[in-house]
Amino acid sequence: MIEKSQDPSPASLPLAQRVPTGIPGLDEMLHGGFLSQTANLIEGAPGCGKTTLGMQFIRYGALHGEPGIILTFEQFPAQYYRDAASFGWDFRALERAGVLQVIMSSPEVSKADLESFNGKIEDLVARIGAKRILIDSLTHFERISQDPMKLRSLVYGFLNSLKRAGLTAILTRESATLLGDEVGPTGSANFSFMTDSYIMLRYVEIESAIQRAIIALKMRGSAHDTYIRQFEINSTGFHVQEPFAGREGLMSGTPQQMTRSFIKAFINR
């Protein structure tokens, strides 16, 4: 019989089973990092930092004994080299050292390749000993099929093939709105329930200035921080900061101070 005290709480899983992102503040939010061999969705508006977060995750692994792959759909590898260089990260040098590879392909080919015997991506995973992968972005799967059931099956198959290859994955997805609640077209894809964790990046307007917010909405098999935190991207990369204090309605994109909403709710009724 297993005693209750022997059953480890998810948050206390040994760090060896965690895959740290190396992003200041994010690993604390995730209680040490993502769980190994999981698929992790990062969703946010264009330009809010999804790819930067993913590149930083890959770079940290490459420098700490966990080689990685960036699988890009549409965006040319040269763009990643340039973006990385703007943070002082030399991705070409990491490629030469055999700890990183930027692959350009399409969703349909990647999926077929990962599901085939001796596929090129699997071969590359084995050759460099890859443990991490950035899929940029999952949004491109949506052009393969308009049928939600077929799309779900395609994405499930793809995520499972990543796990079979022993990879811990970050998958980016672009959300349709810059600020406020997501208002997608009817039937638009929702991948969040298929992935093991779901992190949302948001722009929020506070006192006529745009700030950036991050929240971990889901982390299957683990506890996680539930605060909505600020983050910034500076010359050294992505940094998660303190929770927004004294604000509410952040996910609407236009938060208000708690006192104001209190007055609105209880006094100006």
Partner: protein, 125 residues
Amino acid sequence: MSTENLTSRVFNDMDPALLSFIKKYVTSFVKWDLLHFFHQNPHTIDTVENIARYAGRAPDTVQRELAQLARSGLLESSQMGEMVIYALTSSPQIQTNLAQFVAASQDKQFRIRATYHVIRDMCRH
């Protein structure tokens, strides 16, 4: 100057390894563009349609040229279900030769000589 003399002058100035590379792989301007594309994006694994889109060329044209590059060994092709997938060869020697060709292409004089050869080859076929 006779055509023969001009040809001789154009090719005698060229590195024999590069000349051999051009004669074997760069037999059209579409191939020239595709070689640059695969050099810049060496880990591309994709279909004719997508490669044509990335390269800004018509799929029909690109299909023929990709098939020829695969037959000559510069690319690898594989069948995946109904899709034919192309990727750059994993041969380090050919990749090195490709890198030398792309580096040499930065030089205007080399480009003029290489262009002359491509046109001559296209006329021949």
